[in-house]
Structures are given as C-alpha cells and as structure tokens.
Amino acid sequence: MELLCPAGNLASLKAAFNAGADAVYLGLKDDTNARSFAGLNFSAAQIKQASQLAKQQNRKLFLTLNTFAKPGHESRWQQAIDLAAELHLDAVICADISLLDYASRTYPGLALHLSVQASATNVAALSFYKQQFNIERAVLPRVLSVKQVKDLAKVSPVDLEVFAFGSLCIMAEGRCQLSSYVTGQSPNTGGSCSPANHVRWQDVGTDKLTRLNEVLIDKSSQSEQLGYPVVCKGRYQTHDEMAPEYMLESPTSLNTMSLIPELAQAGIRSLKIEGRQRSPAYVTQVTQVWRQAIDCYLQSPETFADTLQKKPQWHSALDKVSEGQVTTLGAYERQWQ
C-alpha cells in the first residue's frame, strides 16, 4: 500500500521523501491544477529536478492536471502532458476526458490516474474511463462509506486510491460549484476553491467576521479556532432556526488512520495525503506519522488496533496540523452521512 504525499515546492518534496513517502504528487505553476495559488507549485525546470530526485531515491512522482482545459487554451494542458511524458514521470493525474484522450493516444506508455475531480464513484463509471482511456488507477471521491469502498474494490477494473488524511471536501469532488457561485472561481474552472483574494476577515467589536466575496461565511469570537473559509464550512440560519448552525460541515479534517487494516485488506493501492498548499513542516509531520502507522500495520496486521491505542501521540500530532484541530472519518463512516 503506497503512501502518496503532497508537495507544493521542492522543500516539501524533499521533506516527503525524507519522511518516507513512496510517491509524491505535484502541479505546475499555472491553472492546470486545482491548487493554483501564488508562490506555490513547480516550474518545468523544477519538475525536472524533482523527477531526478525521485529517480535517485527510487520513489514515484505524479503530475497533477486536475482542472479542465479551457477553450482556446488547451495547449497549456497538453504541454503539461508532453512534459510528463518527456520526463518519464510515473503518472499523470487527470480528470478531463479530452486530456485523458490526448494522453492515451499520444503517449500510450504514460500511466493515467483518474483524478478525484472526475467524480467516479461506481464500477460503471470506472469502466468507462478504463475502456475509453485505459486508466491504470482512480482516486475515489470522499463520498463513499468504507463498506462501499470495499465493495467497489472487489469489482473495480482499475487500482484504487483513497484520501487518507487532510482537509475534508464534503461534496462529490469535481461537481461542486459552491465556490464559483460565490466567487466566480471553482476548482474546475479557476484552479482553486475559495480563492484567497476573495477572503476578508473583519473585526467588529468582540466578533470576528469571515467573508468570502463579501458574503458572511461565519461570525465567531476572537478566540475561536477557525478553518480556511469555504462555503460548505460556514455557519448559517434557516427560516425557522435563527441560531447559527454549521448546516453542512464544521471546520474539520479527514483522518482515516483507524481504517488502515480495512483499506489494506480491500486491496486499496494508495493512501493519499491532502495538502499541496501546506508547508514542508506539515508534510514532514504527516508523512512521518503515516509512514510509521503503515509500517506498523504491515509488520503486524493483527496487533495494529492495539498499537494505535498505545500511540496517542500519532493522533495528537495529526490533530495539531488539522483544520479546527479536529478530525473525522467523514463519509467513510455511515453515521457521518
């Protein structure tokens, strides 16, 4: 079972490898990926450097191309695929069928991973991508329960990757337009969810107001721990309930460490850590803990549950870097749904 970690720059990439990542995913410095933030991501030359580092250390490197090619600008996305092929990267993570088509026709040897932004949650959808574009692997959206993941793994025509840890997207990825409804930009079109230039914090008396394109997402006390403002994690009212409530989800992160045995037994190929936008320190911290946990499981699967009990420091280390300092199993757990 692969440990797949994020890198937003070379320092994070090195941190991930040093801490024991089997593979790293990264993106170019433009809107071809959904973490298009200023100061983040890699130039073509830096990807070349990253690829050399990965080869030296016998690790894998995947290029994230998880936005959709804009009409008139398709060449930008195609060139990214060309680059991945030229550098012999281990895979391209892609959601756009026109790009999957381009890659599979132009570079039959280039492995294709279906991005979570393609929203493939069932065997018929996975079969579509396998038959049409010969994808090797798919990343599952964070909408399936652990039982549904296991059922799907039994019949899936491709390897499966799941999100193990990080910021929790609670919607079927690739089909969420909450961000563009409020800001005009979505992960699919603009390269990010809830773009930072639309976020504004405002102090009013003892309250802290969080605004996204002037829409009030949350009102909190100054001392409250706040997550990054996204529409799905705001506090709102209804016509019959004036007390503000997290109507969709509260600021929280996903942590599936307790599910390692089930995911391993189901044959899940890869565990993905979210957070290309996070610091090298985050990457080190999270990768180290997950490396230890996976190794522990592999050495002694039957005692893993006990080990987990005896290692509260793993959870506290992860909680510290989590949004709102709280973690959840999210949709993996039926009760959450």
Partner: protein
C-alpha cells in the same frame, strides 16, 4: 429555441407530482425530463410511475427524456440505472459517467446532463462520438464559453442551458436535510419531503445563500435568463431549461411558450431582487446583472 422542463429535484408526494405533470401536459412545452436525480432513498414515485407519467406526457405530444441519478454509490443504484436505460421507448439523460457507460454498451443515444464534467469542445466531440445527442451546459459555465465551444466547428448535437430555476450546486454523501433534523441518513424518514423547495439557508446577515435539498445543495436564488432568451437563441442554444419549483411554473411555461421570440425584449416577467444570472456573464453565479438587453 424550445422550452424544456428539467427533472424534479425535490421530493414531492405522489399525488402532487402527478397533478403537477398533468398540468405540464396541458402546456405547449417541448421536452420534459422525468426521474429521480438526487437520492435513491426517495421512493415516492417508482419506475412504473415515471413510465406512466412519461406516457401521459408523450400522448400529449411532449418529448420525454428519463433522467438518471447524479451520485451513484452502490450496486443497487446501478441496477436501477440499467433498468432505466433498458426501457425501450424513451431517451435518457446521463448525469454520471456510469450512465454514459451503460448507454454506450446498450448502443442507445443519450443526453449529456449538466453534472458530467464536459468543459471543452474536444470533450463534447468524444461524447458525441459515443452517442451524445444533446449537451446540457454545466451550470457554472458562461455565454462566452458556449460561444467559443460552438464556434470551433459545426456540430450535430443540440445544446440546452438552465434558464430558469434554482441551480444545483453540489452533491454530497451527507444528507443535509436529515442532518438539520439530527437524523442519520439511514433513518431519514424521507424528511426532505417536508421541504418542497428545500431548506432556505441564509447568512447571519440574512442574505439568502443556499437551499438544502437532501444530499444536494442548491442556490437560494433562481437563475433567471428570461431577458437573455433572444441572445441565447442567437448563439445556437436549442433548449431553454426550466427547473421545476412549484405550480407557478405552469403559468411561466404558458407565458414563455406564447412569446414571439422577436418580441422578447418587451416581455414583462416579474424578476424578484434575489434572482441571479452571474454565471451567464462569467461572474459569480449569485450575481445579478439587471435588465441587460440585447
């Protein structure tokens, strides 16, 4: 440009739903989409009920398209999907690549629904090759986007755009209506039936923002492109979609079907202050550019 009525996104009881579509059958609407697109736990109308409605509408000269589930998570949902695709009579609207896959295997044409991620012309051409006859533009895309894509080359598929109604914005594993009532989804008691237009959700400054409809999140405001209809028709859109929101739709359909397209700029349809049309102009979807005339 013709009018179409999208699938009902809410859980209305069977009697109300039948009354609604009986009224729709008496309008001049061209196409009606039927089927549960949100949640397989909703069983108010069963497959045979939809077929009954389909026949009723078909007998009154309407084209009927059977819509399929948007978020498919289990084997039983795939079985139901297959059953809809295998109906011998009506076309289907594919709202997930699962439906595209099964339609292709069955060699039947399909309408590409608005939740398929089709964001450029090459993607539409791939879909057309495997059976897409009509393309419904994803909600967040704009007039400019569509113009560019249609201008690239001639096409044989039709295009449809949501022109009036609440906008579906997201789908989740979680049922937000059940959550609001502190009920687990597995024991939801179909609580969403209490909200025929979803739960209106507003900010702490009383700005209407969202509409919670089971696992779906919609816009609080209705998209309203009625004043843009002439423009839409001119760039080659074939269908103006209305999304069902209540019996008031019937009067709107009647009013819009009687319009001479040339005279559209002169129409006087009430547009509440909280309508929106931002996506059409490449802006935040919630924005409203007022009375932009062609």
């Amino acid at each position: 440009m013709n009018l179409s009525l999208g699938p009902l996104t809410y859980c209305w009881n069977k009697t109300v739903t039948f009354e609604y579509y009986e009224a729709v059958a008496d309008t001049a609407i061209d196409t009606v989409y039927l089927g549960e697109v949100i949640c397989s736990r909703r069983r108010e109308l069963k497959y045979k009920d939809y077929l009954e409605l389909a026949s009723l509408l078909n007998n009154k000269g309407k084209k009927v398209i059977l819509s399929t589930l948007t978020l498919i998570e289990s084997a039983s949902e795939l079985v139901e999907l297959k059953r809809i695709i295998d109906n011998a009579e009506f076309a289907i609207e594919a709202n997930d690549m699962a439906a595209v896959n099964l339609a292709q295997e069955a060699a039947i044409p399909f309408v590409a629904g608005p939740t398929l991620n089709l964001y450029n012309r090459a993607s539409l051409d791939i879909m057309q090759k495997i059976g897409m006859t009509r393309f419904i533009m994803p909600y967040e895309l704009s007039k400019y986007w569509l113009q560019q894509v249609l201008a690239e080359s001639s096409n044989t598929f039709e295009t449809e755009v949501l022109g009036y109604g609440y906008i579906p914005l997201a789908h989740s594993a979680r049922c937000f209506t059940a959550k609001h009532h502190q009920k687990p989804k597995l024991d939801c008691q179909i609580i969403c039936q209490q909200y025929p237009k979803g739960i209106l959700t507003q900010t702490q400054e009383s700005q209407p923002l969202l509409r919670l409809n089971g696992i779906q999140t919609q816009s609080a405001a209705k998209v309203n492109l009625i004043n843009q209809m002439t423009d839409m028709s001119a760039i080659g859109i074939n269908y103006f979609r209305i999304s069902p929101s209540g019996f008031e739709d019937i009067a709107l359909i009647k009013q819009l079907s009687n319009l001479d397209e040339i005279n559209l700029t002169g129409i006087n349809i009430e547009r509440p202050a909280n309508d929106c049309n931002g996506y059409w102009y490449g802006e935040p979807g919630m924005n409203l550019q007022d009375n932009v005339t062609v």
